[in-house]
Symmetry: C2
Subunit: 266 residues, 2 copies
């Protein structure tokens, strides 16, 4: 998503040119290009798919809407398996229209995980609940903290359900370091994503994530927390940023790699 | 602030017409009208000032900036005393420019409270730390949760330092009800403010607070939490909303009173 202006072949080629061996993919461009075709493309380019984003949106009350969401999530699991990644990132969903019941919405997520977890396991895929920043609690994700995500995940085996640690969403939370330790000791850090925090936030607060090094976060410190918790997996940089999307994607990817080296690598 | 388009005399007159006996004031219009003059105006109108907003902004590192902030906060305490309110609401401040040290910023707040608390007590004023929504953590307030606010407040006597419970800032937090109980049992709920949560958030995320009943919150439930914690003080409605500010202030105040009766009173 950081360079969504690039087509998948352009992305694969640019990763090759920059010696980037891992890439996280989103469902929409993969579906548009074709799931099998994408799998072939990344294999041929020697790329490993780190995660597929995103399943989720489990909070509907209406039974038909719930059944539809679960069917779509099974497809997302299948897509992840085809792409060769073992991790499907989940954005759990906001409050249904007119509802004010956060607790009920969180319980419906647990119900969905109970159905989806065994199916994902059968395809060799782990689910990674991503707590989203509390500013998205009403309309995108009622899971707002790592503690809440772990409270949900720990109802299920770790090889079925874990969490995504994304610095953009949790950096403000003074309990996040101890929750990262909790996640690590349970083997539940299934994905680790970086973005920096910059202000002012744009209207709708979706596409204002900061380029690495531009904002309020000490990303090396956060890398230290997940490493101290035993995490040795890939590190994704996931930037939703209108400014970056308006630029040449190859240049943005090169800049992001430079920033990563300057601000994240010890 | 809900009807900042009204002058202070218009505000006092409209409160009288609507049989509203309590009002929370902000420093800027009070200073513009004159502190003594405002005190006379509200006394003559039979109004009680619930709180004065706001002191705070304690996170500067530079000694001169810190001294200036403390001096301004002493003035705010004096203004509160002159207005006859016992509560000064504090917005603690964000990260200083270029800093990434949330922990250090929070410690500097504690240092400032240690200096300001005894002065406030000497004037009969209590300080009320307001945790602001985590979307303000970088640029306005590094105190993002009731738990953090109480961790700070509890270093000092409750008659010097407590918290402001504002639904807009804490509604997403599943630990907030237990933290309200913690605050209540320590006699530290010094102010209670209502606003609803509506999306999409506007650019800068400052002036998009929802009118009572328009959004995702069950405000009666939140009133229940503070009452169960022993709170019997006034309830403020504090809306920063460009749409409401563009309308006739008398009409907005009447509407807000109606909404309060419909959505908050049992």
């Amino acid at each position: 998503m950081t360079v969504r202006q690039l087509s998948l072949p352009e992305l694969a080629e640019t990763c090759g040119a920059l010696s980037i061996g891992n890439v996280g993919l989103w469902r929409e461009p993969v579906q548009a290009y074709g799931v099998e075709a994408t799998a072939k493309l990344v294999r041929a380019a020697g790329l490993t798919v780190t995660t597929l984003c995103r399943g989720g949106f489990f909070t509907a009350i209406d039974p038909a809407a719930r059944a539809k969401a679960l069917a779509d999530n099974r497809r997302a699991v299948d897509e992840a398996a085809t792409l060769g990644t073992d991790t499907l990132v989940l954005v759990s969903g906001g409050l249904p229209a007119g509802s004010r019941d956060l607790r009920g919405a969180r319980e419906r997520i647990a119900d969905a995980l109970g159905e989806l977890g065994p199916y994902a396991e059968s395809r060799g895929v782990r689910l990674a609940i991503e707590p989203l920043h509390p500013m998205y609690a009403a309309d995108r994700c009622v899971v707002s903290t790592l503690a809440q995500a772990l409270d949900l995940a720990e109802r299920f085996p770790a090889h079925q359900v874990g969490v995504t640690v994304d610095t953009y969403h949790i950096w403000w939370d003074d309990t996040a370091p101890e929750q990262i330790a909790r996640a690590g000791s349970g083997g539940r850090i299934h994905a680790f994503q970086l973005a920096d925090w910059v202000t002012p936030l744009p209207e709708g607060v979706l596409n204002g994530r900061g380029q690495i090094g531009d904002g309020a976060l000490d990303l090396r410190e956060w890398k230290g927390y997940v490493e101290a918790a035993g995490y040795t997996g890939p590190i994704e940089v996931e930037l939703f940023n209108d400014g970056l999307w308006a630029r040449d994607g190859r240049e943005v990817l090169a800049e992001t790699a430079e920033r990563f080296i300057a601000h994240v690598i010890p």
